[in-house]
């Protein structure tokens, strides 16, 4: 288990939990980043922050500090695999 902000680029993980009382996590929930959802870090901005994540067929950028309380579990061997719509 690690924070989404620590997930290396190109890796896919499964969302374990968010800190839903934070506004940023609530925004992510509204966008459909729910526990159990697969999420991938697609890239990091040239200056190291923010990061771009992909989930449910959409790409969203957020700052590392904002991703910090999204707890994920890395999926081994799922590198580069496309995320399914009906995840």
């Amino acid at each position: 288990m690690l924070s989404l902000s620590q997930l290396p680029v190109g890796r896919t993980a499964r969302v374990i939990e968010l800190n839903a009382s934070r506004p940023v996590d609530q925004r992510l929930l509204a966008l459909g980043l729910l526990p159990g959802m697969r999420v991938k870090v697609v890239r990091v901005a040239p200056l190291g922050d923010p990061i771009a994540i992909e989930f449910h067929n959409q790409c969203v950028s957020l700052r590392r500090a904002e991703a910090a309380e999204v707890i994920v579990e890395e999926e081994r061997g799922a590198d580069g695999e496309r995320l399914k719509t009906n995840d």
Partner: protein, 744 residues
């Protein structure tokens, strides 16, 4: 019939709005907030007039952002001049349906009839998706579902028909089936609010209070924390006991319901076509992405800085031509005041705001391209780190950059920043960017006092330094303002990276036109008024005795110089211009008469209310080394800083045609000495005075158009704060520089 258009950002909402309403649009503001209120009119087949209100693009009703709050307030009838709509037109991106249905699922709680529009059907088809709209409609309680492609104007008549049908039989979307504990918790909160505050809330609002930590809805309720907290804690505990997180249960429940609703509705495909991924691989690449970004920024900047000069010159030339035409009107010949009012006040005032149009049009051309194509979110992604530490965000980049050309369009351009805090801070610091109107001041001072003394290298360095000075002040200003002064909730910088799309010329032209029109209507009148007022201050009282005195003095001076009788000197001064030697030489001038004119103009401005005021406040600027002429120049430049050069031209008796590059003005300034006082006989313009003047102009709020735009975008208080802050800072900097210069 009043209909609200609502949907997620990047769903093509604006294109649909334009397709439905055409030219019949109005833009205003919601009272008290800086969110733009756009509405338009169209008719249904049966002749019913529909007023379409374009609500801000939002992902959720959570009311965290100002946009979300305004949307919720309109829908719940809390905005005085905007009654709630009779129906909702909810726009969804057909290619990302699940996420886009979250908002309508929340909206169903409001019980307002709705039509679901599935936009971007062309994109969905390209991905090989098929959508069973009938089935989706049934699953959502029978609401009409209209497939549409607004860019191709497909589905627009069907939307009109669906609204007409909705008028006959209003269909509401089915609400999510809340678990009993959640339902009970919402009810408990609603009842407690009614009991404690006497206000009856809709369930949708009570949900916000319950589901969101510290919801802004509370600000309106005036529900004492001592009563509120136990109720909310208890209600949330009720949900927790049922095994759910009270802050997450809403999203989980809606999404679970939507997954079921979509089963069998969306078939196949859904995966992006890969174009966006491939483009992102280049455009967001560590090296290439940065290079392309810098190139794109340069293009935008040069277009505003350089390209806009041509139409701006045409406008200036046109304004001059109109001024000449006014001057040529025979009946004005013996009414110099009316002549000056018409040409310098009225025509000049119109010109003063028209001249901003080219830059506004060009900036919004690029902003529209950047946003509509989807690149703006990428640019913000690339740049965010540079700005986040001082409280701004990646979207501050474009306005700050274009601020180096002109603050007016740039402040308007801060509308692209969703976060109200970052937006206000960006708009507040944009006027510090060294706009092109400051350049003539730098050119004049550096050309007259720096380069001759220290050489071209130091001169160029000084020029670069002056352009950086504003930025050096802007950054800490933004840092302090966002940290300590802006009492706005911080916004998460969660930014959707939308699919790349080809921008449509029609939408681009539309946006350019709407912004230009708004500027003329709202800021234009203010700029015009400022110009006329300053004209009046520099014209009146215009006592004829002043001209007489100057003439007598000048004639005596000529008589003494030429060693001729006074009467002869007077005749020479008054002599008509000689015949031109050849027709190509232009208007002939009697040099003595021209000199008298210049001296008279100088004496008039010295005697004007502006001149008297300048002399009266000169002591304030004395610590910066400014004499009364510089002070009058500074004061006259408050409506528009570029006026300084021509004002100095007048006060130094060179006529108003003086230019920054002219040796006449540079020479006259270099020769100027203090007439009396402790420094009598020493030059007024030392290097430290010249640098102090430049620093003053770099930092001071000397632009009526900027203040008018700030006031329009953020409110009059912001404009006043900007004026006081910048002007104080400019004075401090000028004084500090001059005083340090004196010590050296």
């Amino acid at each position: 019939m009043r209909v609200a258009l609502i949907g997620n950002p990047n769903t093509g909402k604006t294109t649909l709005f334009n397709a439905l309403t055409g030219l019949r649009q109005r833009v205003g503001n919601y009272p008290g907030v800086t969110v733009a209120k756009k509405s338009g009119l169209f008719s249904l087949a049966d002749g019913t007039k529909v007023e379409l209100i374009d609500l801000p693009g939002i992902y959720s009703l959570a009311a965290q952002s100002l946009d979300e709050r305004v949307a919720l307030d309109v829908l719940c009838n809390h905005i005085a001049d905007t009654p709630p709509p009779d129906a909702l037109l909810v726009v969804c991106d057909a290619a990302n349906l699940l996420r886009n249905l979250f908002l309508p699922s929340q909206l169903a709680e409001l019980g307002i009839p709705m039509v679901l529009v599935l936009n971007h059907m062309d994109e969905a088809r390209r991905r090989g998706m098929t959508l069973d709209t009938e089935l989706l409609s049934r699953r959502l309680g029978g609401v009409p579902v209209v497939p549409c492609s607004a860019v191709r104007a497909e589905g627009v008549p069907e939307i009109r028909a669906a609204l007409a049908a909705l008028r006959e039989s209003p269909v509401k979307a089915s609400r999510v089936a809340w678990d009993a504990p959640v339902q009970a918790a919402v009810e408990r909160v609603r009842a407690a609010i009614e009991r404690d505050t006497g206000k009856s809330l809709q369930p949708a609002e009570a949900q916000r209070v319950l589901f969101d930590a510290n919801s802004p809805v509370l600000e309106r309720l005036a529900w004492p924390a001592a009563k509120r907290e136990p109720v909310l804690a208890e209600a949330r505990e009720l949900i927790r006991k049922s095994g759910a997180n009270p802050f997450a249960v809403e999203a989980l429940r809606h999404y679970a319901r939507l997954r079921q609703a979509l089963a069998g509705v969306v078939s196949e495909g859904g995966a992006a076509t890969g174009v966006t991924q491939r483009l992102d691989a280049v455009l967001l690449h560590r090296v290439w992405g940065t290079v392309i970004f810098v190139a794109a920024s340069l293009l935008v900047f040069l277009s505003i800085f350089w390209l806009a000069k041509f139409p701006m010159d045409w406008i200036s030339a046109g304004v001059d031509r109109v001024k000449d035409a006014v001057g040529a009107m025979a009946w004005l010949g013996d009414k110099p005041m009316l002549h000056s009012l018409l040409s310098d006040g009225v025509v000049g005032g119109v010109g003063a705001f028209l001249v901003f149009l080219p830059q506004i049009l060009i900036l919004f051309f690029f902003i529209s391209l950047l946003e509509d194509s989807g690149y703006m979110a990428r640019a913000a992604f690339l740049m965010d780190k540079l700005f986040s530490w001082c409280g701004l965000n990646g979207k501050s980049f474009v306005p700050l950059l274009s601020g180096y050309a002109c603050a007016v369009p740039s402040i308007m351009g801060t509308r692209t920043i969703e976060d109200p805090k970052a937006r206000a801070a960006t708009a507040f610091v944009v006027p510090f960017m060294s706009c092109s109107a400051r350049f003539p001041v730098y050119a004049l001072m550096i050309g007259a006092f720096i380069t001759p003394k220290y050489g071209a290298w130091i001169g160029s360095l000084a020029m670069v330094g002056m352009h950086l000075l504003g930025l050096l002040v802007a950054v800490p200003t933004a840092f302090v303002a966002t940290r300590f002064f802006l009492k706005v909730r911080p916004q998460p910088f969660v930014l959707e990276m939308p699919r790349y799309q080809l921008p449509r010329l029609r939408d681009t032209l539309w946006r350019m036109w709407m912004n230009a029109r708004e500027f003329i209507e709202k800021a234009g009148t203010l700029i015009f008024a400022i110009t006329v007022v300053v004209w009046a201050l520099s014209w009146f009282p215009r006592d004829a005795a002043v001209a007489e005195r100057v003439k007598t003095g000048y004639v005596a001076e000529v008589a003494a110089r030429e060693n001729i009788p006074v009467a002869e000197a007077a005749k020479r001064v008054e002599a008509p211009a000689p015949e031109p030697a050849s027709p190509t030489e232009g208007a002939p001038v009697n040099p003595l008469a021209a000199e008298l004119d210049h001296r008279t103009a100088s004496a008039y401005i010295e005697d004007s209310y502006l001149g008297r005021f300048g002399k009266a406040v000169q002591p304030v600027f004395a610590p910066a080394g400014f004499d009364w002429k510089i002070t009058v120049g500074v004061l006259a430049s408050f409506p528009a800083r570029e006026v300084i050069v021509s004002t100095l031209g007048i006060t130094y008796s060179l006529g108003e045609g003086a230019e920054a590059e002219s040796d006449d003005l540079r020479g006259a300034m270099a020769r100027a000495v203090w007439p009396d006082g402790p420094k009598a006989g020493t030059p007024i313009f030392t290097v430290s005075v010249a640098v102090a003047i430049m620093a003053f102009f770099a930092l001071c709020s000397q632009c009526g158009a900027t203040l008018a735009t700030l006031s329009r975008e953020l409110g009059a208080r912001w404009a006043a704060a900007s004026f006081l802050y910048m002007t104080t800072l400019a004075w401090l900097a000028a004084v500090a520089i001059h005083q340090v210069g004196l010590l050296l």
